[in-house]
């Protein structure tokens, strides 16, 4: 069993090295061959992981002993790790297969597949690790692989920027991880996760320390899972190739944060404050991201924000104390989001764009892709019997039992998810007024096959998990919540889907945004910019008031006309509802995006800028003038003299 475990771990790394060497020896290798090597490795380790089912293989080795602390590295198969490994293996294999087709015409395919294999190997190590040290190492390796893969098209500046941003922002969270495991090492004297958890359960840690550690660990999860305030890197990471987005930025790497919390959940359970932090972070992230997703026009960006939102839901579930639900949602989300990404790649390949405003009516040209997309969208919207339904239902029941108001918020989330995915999918697949109707064709067989498998997963994985999952995972099940809530959730999801669809069919993917969201955005901006600009406004008072009055009158007129227009269509009640809902959603979305951009994005940028400015300021100290340098020495002498007076007694 141990041999199998090591095979599983080493296969992707071997493939990666082999590809690098191969590339050096024979630079002209065909992309397919390279892809199949990578695929083969993925298949080998999928097989190995499946072979490991039910075993409890583990291997450990002492890296070194520093002082009194033994630092070990090791891997182990437990229910949770096997479950996560299976997920990683499955999605990786399918994405690898898909990539064989997708990357056929790209340059640098060898590099791509080598990096892809490296990534899968690292991710697998991450999930199987039984040592915080190894987990941390794999965590960093995953970051490096992500950096390389996002920057794959390095000739594009946004890819470069995205790669840089992703690496550095996630690393910000890693700092928390590093400190957390060092603290754990100090407290428990071990880095073996099993021992650490045992010690934690034995009550080895007192509370403030425990909460601190939990929060530090959560900081790492925030970075990797793109929770607020470290969200901005994930949409930027969409500059990478689509298979990369599918694999890394939806299914595996971003789930690592959630996985980390799951893995160390016993620790979190003992830190209620940390759980609250999780809850709130998850909730706010999920909401804001869902709102932002509703106004995106790039399909991949819709999916990216949707990913953030769904990850927020998982974190929220964790915060509710429902790890099982989070784990289910992790798996379900991996399948349907990967499917969505793969279809996005197919659309991109086929139609040459991912811009919703340039698409439309693709269902006729690519029926298979369209059906996969629809399945995944239904799963995302929580329509039974697809995957999302099962997990969201679990989260909902946990929420209803613990904190009913969270359940209300969850309903809103489900509605929003339905809305944005309905909007996006409709805009792609169905004809809408003024749609350009590009021509497109179905992708290659390899790409279709893997998408199909994933779509099937998205269709059934939820049910399968709901039946057998609990036996696998070390978390207790919640009692199912009241039926009314569950029905309500499904209905709201469906309503969202329909609303989104209607909206697009009426106005296309952009119209309501112009009508409602922009003025709102301006208003919010006014608020943000605040008093300083108000002074300016007063200064230009007369002219401005005039214009304001003028604008007010015009808005009044427009409103009147709109009302008239709306009443003329009063017979279509549903339509009115749709518009109203859409308007509300859009308004929220505009606000949320603004918040995201101005507060968190800008906040991050501000932080970086101020760091840079600090560097620049300090740099001025290095004047190049020798006499100032020596002056510094003597100033220190004076300071030392003053300092020494502290000891005067």
């Amino acid at each position: 069993m141990t041999a199998l475990l090591l095979t599983a771990l080493l296969a992707p790394f071997t493939a990666s090295i082999a590809l690098v060497v191969w590339g050096r020896v024979r630079p002209g290798t065909s992309p397919a061959a390279a892809g199949w090597v990578s695929t083969g490795a993925a298949a080998v380790f999928l097989a190995a992981v499946i072979g490991l089912a039910g075993s409890d293989a583990a291997t450990h080795l002492t890296w070194l002993e520093t002082g009194s602390f033994p630092l070990t590295i090791g891997v182990t198969v437990t229910g949770l790790t096997w479950f996560a490994a299976l997920l990683v293996a499955g999605v990786s294999l399918l994405v690898a297969v898909y990539s064989v087709g997708y990357m056929a015409e790209s340059e640098g395919h060898l590099r791509f597949f080598a990096e892809l294999s490296f990534f899968t190997g690292s991710m697998l190590t991450l999930v199987l690790a039984d040592s915080l040290l190894l987990l941390f190492a794999a965590w960093e390796a995953v970051g490096v692989a992500s950096f390389l893969l996002i920057g794959f098209h390095f000739e594009q500046s946004d890819a470069r920027r995205g790669a840089y941003k992703a690496f550095v922002m996630t690393r910000l969270g890693d700092l928390g991880f590093l400190l957390a495991w060092l603290l754990l090492l100090q407290e428990t004297g071990s880095v073996r996760i099993s021992e650490v958890l045992g010690a934690v359960e034995g009550g080895a840690l007192s509370d403030p320390r425990l909460t601190l550690i939990a929060l530090l660990l959560f900081a790492a999860a925030v970075g990797k899972s793109a929770q607020l305030p470290l969200t901005a890197w994930l949409p930027a990471a969409m500059a990478g190739p689509t298979p990369v987005s599918a694999l890394i930025h939806s299914a595996t790497m971003v789930a690592a944060g959630v996985f980390l919390v799951l893995r160390l959940f016993p620790l979190f359970e003992r830190a209620p404050v940390a759980l609250d932090v999780l809850l709130w972070t998850g909730l706010v992230t999920a909401f804001l991201a869902a709102l932002v997703a509703t106004i995106q026009v790039d399909f991949k960006r819709v999916l990216a924000w949707s990913t953030v939102s769904q990850l927020g839901e998982m974190v929220l579930a964790l915060g509710l104390g429902a790890p099982l639900a989070a784990a289910y949602h992790l798996a379900a989300h991996a399948t349907f989001k990967a499917t969505l990404f793969l279809t996005a790649g197919a659309v991109d390949h086929g139609a040459g764009t991912r811009d919703l405003r340039r698409l439309g009516g693709l269902a006729r040209h690519m029926p298979l892709t369209a059906s996969f997309m629809i399945v995944a969208a239904l799963a995302l919207a929580g329509i039974p019997p697809f995957a999302g339904f099962w997990s969201e239902e679990l989260i909902l029941s946990a929420a209803v039992q613990n904190r009913p108001w969270v359940a209300v918020a969850l309903l809103g989330l489900i509605f929003l998810a339905g809305f944005y995915i309905g909007r996006a999918v409709t805009a792609i697949l169905e004809p809408w007024p003024g749609a350009p109707r590009p021509r497109a064709e179905e992708p290659k067989a390899t790409m279709l096959t893997s998408t199909a498998v994933l779509a099937a997963g998205a269709a059934v994985s939820g049910g399968v998990l709901a039946l057998w999952g609990a036996r696998l995972l070390p978390f207790e099940e919640h009692a199912p919540g009241p039926v009314a809530w569950r029905v309500g959730a499904v209905l709201l999801g469906a309503l969202g889907l329909l609303l989104g669809r209607t909206l697009v069919r009426r106005y296309g993917p952009i119209a309501p945004l112009r009508l409602v969201a922009l003025p709102l955005e301006n208003f919010v901006e006014l608020l943000f910019v605040g008093a300083g600009r108000l002074v300016l406004l007063v200064a230009f008072a007369v002219g401005f008031i005039e214009r304001l009055l003028d604008g007010g009158a015009r808005a009044l007129a427009r409103g009147a006309r709109k009302t008239a227009w709306l009443t003329s269509r009063a017979e279509d009640g549903f339509d009115r509802l749709a518009l109203g809902g859409a308007a509300g959603a859009m308004a929220g979305a505009g606000l949320a995006e603004l918040l995201e951009r101005e507060a968190f994005g800008a906040g991050g940028d501000q932080a970086a800028t101020s760091l840079f400015q600090a560097g620049g300021g300090l740099r001025l100290g290095q004047t190049g003038r020798l006499y100032l340098y020596t002056l510094g020495l003597f100033v220190w002498v004076g300071a030392a003299g003053l300092l020494s007076l502290l000891w005067w007694r």
């Binding site: 006499y627 002056l631 003597f634 100033v635 002498v637 004076g638 003299g641 005067w648």
Partner: protein, 311 residues
């Protein structure tokens, strides 16, 4: 107080004054040569204090090391300085202390010339760069603050003594020195004894050097070796890989070019005070020899050459 004690205090006072005043003179005088001599005086004063403290061997060692060393060092300073005698600064606005230590600097001989400000060390007159704002400062310790230096156009001449942060420097060093003195006076924390050293200091030191401090002794030897080798390695003429450096080197060794009419030497050549006469000499001999006198100080040669190269 016995006679011996009075004598000791007297000797101490004289030697202390010599050391401190020497150092102060070194730091403030306008003449580089005098700086060197003042420093030497300071060293000799400290050596005297050593002898007073019955470390006679060390005192002598100090004197020997520094007379030779300082003479050579002054030689170098004269080489690098464009006004080693400091005469062109002699009548500048100076603080009291600078004026004190610069008393009696040889003043330029041609006071009746058109400038009449005693600043025109070139002696051939008409150098506009001399009238710069830095000179007009009223009571400043330095000649023009930090801005004044940049504003000066001395025709490539180094104003070796201009010191933009002088006032701050003086304040800082006063604070440091004063603070140290205050601490020393207020908190003497030294466990003094009445023991006396053995009279055979040379033997004692020799024995220590050969046993306990053998390593220090040998290492000091190595350090000196490094110093010699390093100085030779750095300063030896050698193959210059790039043209500029080679030119500079070659230039430094060329005989000086004749000083042409109409171009004031102060524009390109530093003029040590002894060269004040040189110009007259030079002019007197030009027809006869066509060449200048060969002694102008190596610095003068180099600078005039490079300045010409630049023009």
């Amino acid at each position: 107080m016995s006679f011996a004690e009075v004598a000791e205090w007297f000797a101490f006072a004289i030697l202390a004054v010599i050391s401190v005043a020497g150092a102060l003179g070194m730091a403030t005088t306008m003449s580089m040569f005098r700086s060197g001599i003042f420093l030497m005086a300071s060293f000799i004063g400290v050596a005297g204090l050593f002898v007073l403290l019955s470390a006679d061997l060390l005192g002598l060692l100090q004197v020997m090391m520094y007379i030779g060393g300082m003479l050579v060092m002054i030689l170098f300073m004269v080489l690098f300085s464009h006004d080693p005698g400091g005469s062109m600064m002699a009548e500048m606005d100076m603080s009291l202390i600078e004026r004190f230590f610069s008393l009696g600097l040889s003043s330029p001989p041609d006071e009746g010339m058109e400038h009449g400000d005693g600043m025109d060390m070139g002696g051939s007159g008409g150098h506009e760069g001399m009238e710069h704002e830095g000179m007009e400062h009223g009571d400043g310790m330095d000649m023009g603050g930090s801005g004044g230096h940049e504003g000066m156009d001395m025709g490539g001449m180094d104003m070796s003594m201009t010191t933009p942060v002088k006032r701050w420097a003086a304040a800082l060093s006063l604070v440091l020195g004063g603070g140290l003195v205050a601490l020393l006076l207020l908190r003497p924390a030294w466990p003094t004894t009445d023991a006396t050293p053995s009279p055979e200091s040379a033997r004692m030191i020799g024995e220590l050097l050969m046993s306990k401090y053998m390593m220090a002794f040998e290492s000091a030897g190595l350090l000196i070796l490094i110093g010699i080798f390093g100085a030779v390695l750095v300063a030896r003429p050698g193959a210059y890989p790039d043209r500029d450096a080679r030119d500079a080197y070659v230039t430094a060794d060329l005989p000086p070019a004749p000083i042409e009419e109409g171009r004031p030497p102060s524009a390109d050549a530093p003029v040590p005070p002894e060269a004040l006469e040189e110009v007259t000499v030079n002019e007197a001999h030009r027809d006869k020899a066509g060449g200048p006198p060969s002694l102008n100080g190596p610095a003068g040669h180099a600078a005039s050459q490079s300045a010409e190269g630049d023009n």
